[in-house]
């Protein structure tokens, strides 16, 4: 498996991914071997079934939403670049990056982009607002069966009430960011990839 990884992934591709996502060379090759091990059809792309084969993801209440997050709008296959682009959101923010010249575009793993990723887990219809229904859906996934709809509705209303500043009973992205300002998002949404 090791030799396959290095022959199929060209150096230019590695460089592109490195520039776009900020992963190191060894991290990219390692994640590529993970990609190929998931890719049972061996056609260089992952489909939704490939993700669903991961048993722990099957148990995760947000499993299918997380899987959806990997696939771009309306597509059913994701290639390695897309895979890495999604994973790049979870790279830890390193201190030395803040000191260098800020890049032209915001890096994928900035706090705002991490929060945008989480926001999109709620916001399925991509209208940049979390409506009460969308919130209820996610809440119901995370909570057990014991809570009645009324109670859940109240919790959802409370959540919206805490966040909503412009009174449209939806949570916009800016309101979302504000609500989470005390939460250590960088730490909660970062995986330490081994170098």
């Amino acid at each position: 498996m090791g030799s396959r990884a290095s022959t199929l992934l060209r150096e230019e591709e590695i460089e592109e991914i490195k520039k776009e996502t900020g992963f190191s060379h060894s991290q990219i090759t390692r994640l590529y071997s993970r990609f190929t091990s998931l890719d049972k059809g061996e056609n260089g792309t992952l489909s939704r079934e490939d993700f669903q084969r991961i048993p722990e993801l099957a148990i995760n209440p947000l499993g299918d939403r997380i899987i959806n997050a990997f696939f771009p709008e309306g597509e059913d296959q994701v290639n390695f670049k897309g895979f890495m682009r999604t994973l790049a959101h979870f790279r830890p923010i390193e201190d030395n990056e803040k000191n260098k010249n800020p890049p032209a575009t915001e890096p994928l793993n900035s706090r705002t982009n991490k929060l945008l990723f989480a926001f999109r887990l709620y916001d399925l219809d991509r209208d940049d607002k979390i409506s009460r229904d969308e919130l209820l859906q996610v809440l119901r996934m995370m909570v057990g069966v014991n809570i009645s709809d009324d109670q859940l509705g109240s919790i959802a209303d409370r959540t919206i009430q805490e966040a909503d500043t412009n009174g449209d009973s939806c949570i916009s992205f800016q309101e979302f960011i504000k609500v989470l300002e005390k939460v250590d998002v960088e730490q909660k949404m970062s995986i330490r990839f081994l170098h």
């Binding site: 498996m1 090791g2 390692r30 994640l31 071997s33 993970r34 091990s37 998931l38 079934e49 993700f51 669903q52 084969r53 991961i54 048993p55 722990e56 993801l57 099957a58 148990i59 995760n60 209440p61 947000l62 499993g63 299918d64 997380i66 990997f70 994973l87 979870f90 990723f117 989480a118 887990l121 709620y122 996610v138 119901r140 996934m141 995370m142 909570v143 057990g144 069966v145 014991n146 809570i147 009645s148 709809d149 109670q151 509705g153 109240s154 919790i155 209303d157 409370r158 959540t159 009430q161 805490e162 979302f176 609500v179 989470l180 939460v183 909660k188 949404m189 995986i191 990839f193 081994l194």
Partner: protein, 710 residues
Amino acid sequence: MAALWPLPLLLSQRLWACLALTLPEEPHDGPLSAGFDAGRVGPSVDLPGALRVFSLDYHHVQAPFEIVLWIMLASLAKLGFHWSGRVPAVVPESCVLIMVGLLVGGVIYGVRHSAPPTLSADAFFLFLLPPIVLDAGYFLPGRLFFENLGTILWYAVLGTLWNVLGIGLSLYGVCLLVPDSLGDISLLHCLLFGSLIAAVDPVAVLSVFQEMHVNEQLHILVFGESLLNDAVTVVLYKLFESFLRLPSVTGLDVLVGGLRLIVVGLGGFFVGLFFGLVAALTSRFTSRAQVIAPLFVFLYSYLSYLTSEMLHFSGIMAIVTCAVTMKQYVEANVSERSNTNIQYFLKMWSSVSETLIFVFLGVSTIQDIHMWSWPFVCSTLLLCLVWRATGVLLLTAVVNKLRRNAVTFRDQFIIAYGGLRGAICFSLVFLIDDFPKKRLFITTTIVVILFTVFVQGMTIKPLVELLDVKRKKRALPTVSEEIHSRLLDHLLSGIEDVVGYWGQHYWRDWFEQFNKRYLRRFLIGEHHQARSSILRVYQELERREQQGGEEAPPPVDLRPGGRPLLPEEMDSIRRILSRNLQNFNKKQTPAYSRHTLHQDGSAKTALHRHQSLPERHPCSRSTLCPQRAQGEFSKSYRGRARLSRSHTVCSASPRRSDPPDSVGPAALNPTQPSDPEPAAEEQQSPLHRAPVERATKKQLSFVLERETRQ
């Protein structure tokens, strides 16, 4: 009040036990004519000389009688401890047991005016230690252990070496400073003493962490370290002991010593591995004699321990490896009842062993042969603490750079402060060849053990709470923060699964493949194989169902609207959330418990209920699998979401009446397998759980399809 009435009963029983134990020294009375068991003869004839109506023949049953009395004493003490109200909250069980031992020892000493029986090293190492280690090894969370194996080895090997050398050399320095009383203790003696006193003891650690509710990761770090440092301790101890016997020590000897370390550790590992695989193979054939299946587990483990002790390898490593190896195959091969039997027996034996060890520690403290020396004892205590603390700090600083979940300062404190010494040191010190200051070593060891168990054991919980309090000063999170944080936790957990902890390690993936392809086929009986592969997923689902199914939260009457909520309402929301939000973060699940079995039992009975699952999905459908699987999968979550609205409704209708949305061409197929299932399930499962179980079974059928397809 309820707590009080058993105490006099237990106390009187204990007193009786003590008195009985003092009996053997008194000369036998009783007119036994040689070889003639007069006591067994019934009639009430009172003939002079030859026959008596009643007589006492204690000598005949002395050995088993005393053993049983000791065990009874220890167990009654344990019972009393758990009945005594608030004591368990403050004092760890090990302390109480040692105190009981001290009491009994004192009584025996007072009655007999000679030392009470001590814990012989052989009895300890051969009989008392193996059950405890076996129990711990069998219930070891395998995945967590292997994830943290690097860190554990780092602490165990390097940490122990650091401690041994540090304590040994500093003690030698102290001896040099006080030449008049300690001058005849050589460097090697100090190093020998250092090697036995530095070892963290798994028994003591386990017993104290019981009450502490540490999270799994921390528990596995400390516990794993205490298990694995046995290899280092054994090697160093034997090394220094053999050095003491040699006329002179050369560099070559030190090198040989280093090699022995590797040999001892790996030797123990391979012996355990061998016996574990043999045990797994044997369990494959036990389907016709299920009652003795548990026996093989114990026999093979014990055999591995004895074999590796015979070869001077590390017995603890062997038995732990054996338990870890055979567990997954044995669990799959034997029946549910046998599994429960195994677990209960393990718990029982380890409990008895541990209790006995602590009681004997207390008893053995009362002795004639103490020798006291203030500088030595105090400096040993101080040095143990200091070297352990510095060792942990240094090692953690290095290892945190390589770990994903950093070991926090709180964890470091617990690791350092929770390094308790126990009976292993005690037995090892008795085994030293006799030399003038041996009694001093024994006394010091006892003092260190008592200090660590009592002082450190009792204060670790309050100190940790103090540390926690400092972090909790910030305000309680708002509802939004809690919900969104939980979302982020699930998200991170999912992404971690996608990336795969082990995907980053090629050899672990290789092992999983190897396991699936060869080991499982070989070691697990054919009709058990499918069940074994979904057991883990099922256990997880069951566990979470139970967490959700405990009690219905009190109804909260909240009116949506702009008004600020009262604190009680916020509290009840928080209570609802904390009880019901599914807790995925592995770092927060409670760790292994000595006294109770986890939800394992119920998970397996649930599995038993659903055992018909494999038959309902024959492999002929595998051609349709991909789409059907996807349909079922996505439907299961949506189905679950919709079920909640009708969770008071029981029967077969709700799920399939949902509009068959974007499932696609496979829409018809999912309806078929679900119909036979609800009928069977209704009678067996409570109503409100039926919908969720169907959802979980959908996932399981999906998982099973995957397995059979692969």
